[in-house]
């Protein structure tokens, strides 16, 4: 009951500030991880610069299900080990990071990557359709090959951003293509 008292009064108060609330609501950016994101560090300092940049590994080599599923897929530890059984890194900083990977693999643990890209739960983004339409990964994910640490670039994955692209390409703007 006390919970209700407090909640009730709080809400009634916030109502006086509803216009502000409205604005806040308006920017319906995807519910991506913003809180304390800066503070958080990926469990392994994975450099896309080297993998995608220097080594020119195809995105879908690791993100293996992008072309046949709605989800792009995170590489299984096994996939990483495929190369890093042999590749141990050149400088000790790299070696240290790769050692972490080998430990995860040894302990049969999965790597708790921090999620950067996430559309809201009421949005369905089928990767396969976009791959099939030959939309470059960079369109949404930016120049990953230049990113030491992966980060959300040039757009907040907001609806307007999606729609404008759909309009440019003259593909469906029907709500029920993404929302159902």
């Amino acid at each position: 009951m006390t919970k209700r008292w407090i909640g009730a009064s709080v809400v009634t108060l916030t109502f006086l500030a509803s216009p502000a609330l409205a604005q806040a609501q308006d920017s319906d950016a995807a519910v991506a991880v913003t809180d304390g994101e800066a503070a958080l560090v990926q469990p392994i300092a994975f450099p896309h610069t080297i993998h995608a940049g220097v080594d020119q590994i195809d995105c879908q080599y690791c993100h293996f299900s992008a072309e046949r599923s709605v989800d792009a897929g995170i590489p299984p530890v096994g996939t990483c080990m495929g190369c890093h059984q042999i590749i141990g890194g050149t400088d000790e900083r790299q070696q240290a990071e790769i050692q972490k990977l080998r430990d995860y693999s040894a302990n049969q643990e999965s790597i708790p990557w921090i999620r950067i890209y996430k559309v809201a739960d009421h949005v369905h983004f089928p990767h396969l359709r976009h791959v099939a339409a030959e939309v470059d990964c960079a369109t949404c994910h930016g120049p990953v090959e230049e990113m030491m640490v992966i980060e959300e670039v040039n757009q907040p994955l907001a609806m307007g951003w999606c729609v404008s692209c759909h309009m440019e390409r003259g593909v469906s703007r029907d709500c029920a293509v993404c929302h159902y």
Binding site: S65, V77, S110, I114, D121, H122, R173, D174, H179, Y180
Partner: protein
């Protein structure tokens, strides 16, 4: 919608199935973690469903299943189209098994009772303890329900080796049927019925559409038999019984007999069919004595009606179905024999009923052995009891004294995976795995074997172990070898034998093929051999049985269409909230009473009454029902749990409390229909948690019917369809838009809301054949499971806030218990009609509902503001509203729907989870459509007719639903929508141009008006 609920759990599972439960904690942090697999399991792609075959463990029918898993968690079960029993369909109970798998009340691990409290214990210690106690017990009992043949085999081996005794007890036992088969034909089996082959059915109270033997398979057979075919042929069905069950409501005629007189009617029919008994073989003299005239008084049926019935039965192929559980009275076996005789003289044996292909797993273990066990336990000469797959404390009448006797046993072990009334008494609990996590097999009939394989890793919240493995390890600890290390080995061993029998060279290949197909054909199928009647036993008495107690109200305790006996499956919100197909009441129990009787007693719906017999008394609200004789009071099983989990406890009453623990002398089955009952009003009232508004169509074109005779004729009558409209125009009145627009010409001029596609776009449409629909409500639960439709709780249902996307309406046209005659109950699955001219669309202020280019009236959840204007303006009232958030882990308020961990693992990741204040409704399973479109677009293929199947059509045992693109003239939906029985609900009244076309029910009797 709800912040991250869907994705979050989906991630959890990625972690769980990839790397064990260790990583679960992460999801509670405010940052999301991506959990890759450590080693990628082959055949799993994130975001793509993986399917496994298995066999349903909900009842003895053994329906083959397809299990849909996403990222290693089970999200849906469906019927296996290649399986002879389910044939692709599934019942509500089967669907709800998911809520047993993820049930929050499952035991978290093995438990030992210390000082009255259950304390966790390690599997090692537990098994060690069992081993020691059993060796020192000096004889023990192993109570089981049905377990699947391999496990059952292992159990008897185990018991045999450890001087225990296996007692199987089925609350809904068909012992009398089995005994009758032995008496009549010398075959100690439960016969195999083939409804599809018959043209005329007579059921003597057997509820084959809901709880008797194999409802899904029989439902399929029945709808194929009774649904009208292209040639306008239609099989008939007469129901002989004192109360109309769901099965009864599907009959064309009803013979409401005096309670307990099935035998007399059956013999009288046999008398007519066999020309006075001449062709009745050894039963000649008996049959001869029971002429229709002789039995008329006792049965309360005019001789003439019996003659007509018999003559119709004679020109078969026909089939008579035995009294069934609802007819389990003192004369049950005799009644079954009488029915067998009837089938025999009508030449149905070997044609529509087979004794050489029995239903192996059919529940036929009677009460007698259990009764002996109770006596033994009471006498104190039982050292230990093991209970598996059954809940006798609940499923036996209190008068049996089981609870007391069981309590006196020094060492009680329960293999229950979640708490139940029996486990509550146990000293040691060794939680078994859910059937979707475990290995096993079933044989529905000789030669047809189905493997049960785990469709996912054990739900990490619960430390469970398969009972088979436990028994084997206990055996080892007792120094016995049962031939195999694990239950899996045991199973493979048996299947190696099958492979040999099946003549397969490579046992492994055979095994893997069986896993893939979900079925193995081993040995022979029935020959269709006829049987000859044996000399009747002297013990047979066909005269009506006696009923105890004063008064004239016979108490009928019948198995619930939702739970059956409800001993083990009541703790599931989906089942609790599924409206009972007959009463449409949810959650609580009710007392069925004829309106006249209620009036005489001064009672009306919702008045709480006390039913009392000499054995006990229960308290429940009255529900008046014209489909029951005035001298019968009916009470469903499945309620009144005291210790079965948070969703079941305290709902309704346990009907068995009113019964004596009496066995039927011939078969040893427990008798249900044996006592009269005394009804007294408490003066209190209790609103029924029912979804029923009005049982009458009040002259509106909702669920019209057409007489079989009138079928061809209706083509000319088409002009009359829009009589009133013409009339209006005739007198120069206002001329509304024509209502002849067919679903395929879409969009109509003047109905263009939303962005429409050109002619190339499909228009998704559906037809529902009301002549096939049996009202079994499987679609309701299937839809709920598929679309994350929340359950709301009893209070909300009572207010009228139930959220089922499919509302199975039931209208009475002709239901009369005063004499034998035509019966007309109309079922109508009401879903969103996806109108071409949808009233809900123009009124939504924010375009939250509108038309997609492919003609679906869609609801954009995240756009909905919740003005509820669309609900007001929908003439079909198919839009349901989230009055609260019903999808949180905690209920927003006491008693409201919620999704406690790990129930949320079941949520379908392809469908948005909705929150408070959002309108929703049937989406035509748009996520399935989109999935196929995505695949087609990527592969450059085209979508073929019948490729996209919504959840309701998929699980419909009656094949009543057809979905497809109605713009494609060749599609099945276009074909059936073009038929002469096609009509659209309220279309003429409100000109909504629905995409859902219904096919009128076909009746044998004349319907006064085809409009309603």
């Amino acid at each position: 919608m709800t912040d991250g609920l869907k994705r979050r759990d989906f991630l959890k599972v990625l972690g769980a199935s990839g790397a064990g439960a260790g990583v679960l904690g992460c999801s509670t942090e405010n940052v999301e973690r991506l959990m890759p697999y450590v080693v990628p399991p082959e055949d799993i792609t994130p975001g793509v469903a993986t399917w496994y075959t298995t066999v349903c463990g909900e009842c003895e029918a053994g329906c083959g299943m397809w299990v849909r898993t996403r990222e290693g968690r089970v999200v849906k079960v469906e019927g296996n189209p290649e399986h002879p029993v389910s044939q692709g369909a599934l019942c509500s109970r089967g669907h709800s098994s998911l809520q047993a798998l993820y049930n929050p009340d499952r035991f978290t691990g093995p438990m030992l009772r210390e000082g009255g409290q259950l304390q966790p214990i390690s599997w090692d210690d537990a098994e060690q303890m069992v081993a020691e106690r059993l060796s020192s017990a000096g004889g023990y009992y192993l109570f089981t329900g049905f377990a699947g043949s391999s496990l059952a085999g292992l159990m008897s081996d185990f018991a045999g080796a450890t001087d225990g005794q296996v007692v199987r007890y089925d609350p809904l036992a068909e012992a009398p049927l089995r005994e009758a088969s032995r008496i009549a034909f010398g075959r100690d089996v439960v016969p195999w019925y083939d409804l599809e082959e018959a043209r005329f059915l007579v059921s003597f109270g057997a509820d084959f559409l809901e709880s008797w033997l194999s409802p899904v398979r029989d439902g399929r057979g029945f709808s194929r038999m009774s649904g009208v075919d292209e040639e306008g042929g239609k099989g008939g069905f007469t129901f002989v019984g004192s109360r109309l069950s769901l099965t009864g409501q599907n009959a064309d005629d009803w013979v409401p007999i005096q309670p307990g007189t099935e035998a007399l009617v059956a013999l009288a029919m046999a008398n007519v069919v066999s020309g006075g008994g001449t062709s009745a073989g050894p039963y000649r003299s008996i049959v001869a004595t029971y002429t229709p005239e002789n039995v008329a008084d006792a049965t309360g049926v005019e001789a003439e009606s019996i003659r007509e019935l018999a003559e119709r039965f004679a020109d078969g192929p026909s089939l008579a179905l035995g009294p069934g559980v609802a007819g389990l009275h003192r004369g049950a076996t005799a009644a079954n024999v009488a029915v067998a005789v009837l089938n025999s003289v009508a030449g149905n044996v070997g044609r529509t009923v087979h004794y050489d292909a029995p239903q192996l797993d059919a529940p036929s273990a009677g009460f007698a052995p259990m009764q002996q066990a109770i006596t033994a336990m009471g006498a104190g000469d039982v050292g230990a009891v093991l209970v598996h797959g059954s809940n006798p404390s609940y499923a036996l009448p209190a008068s049996s004294g089981f609870r007391e006797a069981f309590g006196s046993v020094p060492f009680k072990v329960s293999f229950a995976s979640s708490m139940d009334e029996t486990a509550a008494e146990a000293d040691l609990i060794l939680p078994d795995r859910h059937f979707l996590e475990s290995w096993g097999d079933m044989a529905s009939r000789p030669g047809q074997w189905t493997v049960r394989q785990p469709a996912m890793r054990p739900v990490p919240h619960f430390d469970s172990k398969q009972t088979g493995d436990v028994l084997l390890s206990v055996a080892t600890r007792m120094g016995l070898g049962l031939g195999s290390e694990t239950f899996y080995d045991h199973l493979r061993g048996r299947w190696a034998d099958f492979a040999a029998t099946a003549g397969a060279t490579d046992a492994d290949a055979f095994w893997h093929e069986s896993l893939r197909a979900g079925l193995a054909q081993v040995g022979t199928t029935p020959s269709g051999a006829t049987e000859t009647l044996r000399q009747p036993d002297r013990g047979l008495v066909f005269d009506p049985p006696a009923f105890d107690g004063p008064g004239d109200l016979h108490l009928m305790v019948y198995p619930s269409a939702r739970y059956g006996d409800g001993a083990l499956n009541a703790n599931r919100p989906w089942l609790q909230e599924l409206p009972d197909p007959v009463s449409k009441i949810t959650w609580h129990s009710w007392v069925e009473m004829h309106p006249n009787r209620a009036e005489a007693l001064g009672l009306r719906d919702g008045d709480v009454v006390v039913l009392s017999t000499e054995h006990g008394s229960v308290e429940a609200p009255v529900w008046t029902y014209p489909g029951i004789r005035e001298d019968v009071i009916a009470l469903p099983m499945g309620g009144g749990h005291t210790n079965a989990g948070r969703f079941a406890d305290g709902n309704g009453v346990n009907a068995l409390d009113l019964l004596p623990s009496e066995v039927e002398p011939l078969s040893g089955g427990l008798v249900h229909f044996v006592t009269k009952v005394d009804v007294t009003s408490t003066g209190r009232r209790r609103p029924l948690a029912s979804i029923s508004g009005s049982d009458s169509q009040s002259n509106r074109p909702i669920a019209p019917a057409v007489a079989l005779a009138g079928l061809g004729a209706e083509a000319e009558g088409a002009e009359e369809e829009h009589g009133p409209l013409r009339e209006l125009q005739g007198v120069g009145g206002f001329v509304p838009v024509e209502t002849e627009g067919r679903p395929e010409d879409f969009p109509l001029e003047g109905s263009r809301y939303g962005e429409y596609g050109d002619e190339e776009e499909p228009r998704w449409a559906m037809t529902i054949d009301l002549d096939k629909c049996t009202g079994c409500s499987a679609c309701v639960t299937a839809c709920q499971a598929e679309n994350n439709v929340p359950w709301v709780g009893e209070g909300q249902v009572t207010m009228g806030r139930d959220m089922g996307w499919i509302r199975l309406e039931r209208y009475y046209e002709a239901v009369d218990a005063s004499h034998a005659g035509p019966l007309d109950v109309r079922f109508l699955p009401m879903i969103c009609q996806h109108c071409g001219n949808a009233p809900c669309e123009p009124v939504c202020p924010v375009f939250a509902t509108y038309h997609t280019p492919d003609g679906i009236n869609t609801q954009v959840y995240n756009r909905c503001v919740g003005t509820r204007y669309c609900l007001n303006n929908c003439p079909y009232k198919v839009r349901v509203y989230n009055w609260y958030t019903f999808t949180d882990e905690e209920p927003v308020r006491e008693g409201l729907g919620h999704v406690p961990e790990p129930l949320n693992w079941q949520l379908n990741p392809d469908v948005t989870v909705r929150e408070n204040g959002i309108m929703e409704k049937c989406s035509f399973c748009i996520h399935r459509i989109r999935a196929h479109q995505d695949r087609a677009a990527v592969e450059g293929s085209t979508i073929t007719d019948g490729q996209i199947i919504p959840a309701c059509q998929q699980s419909c045992p009656a094949e009543a639903i057809v979905f497809g693109n109605i713009r494609d003239p060749g599609s099945r939906v276009a074909q059936s929508a073009g038929g002469e029985r096609a009509y659209r609900v309220l279309d003429e009244l409100v000109n909504t141009q629905p995409a859902v076309t219904y096919l009128k029910k076909v009746t044998f009797h004349e319907v006064e008006s085809e409009e309603h």
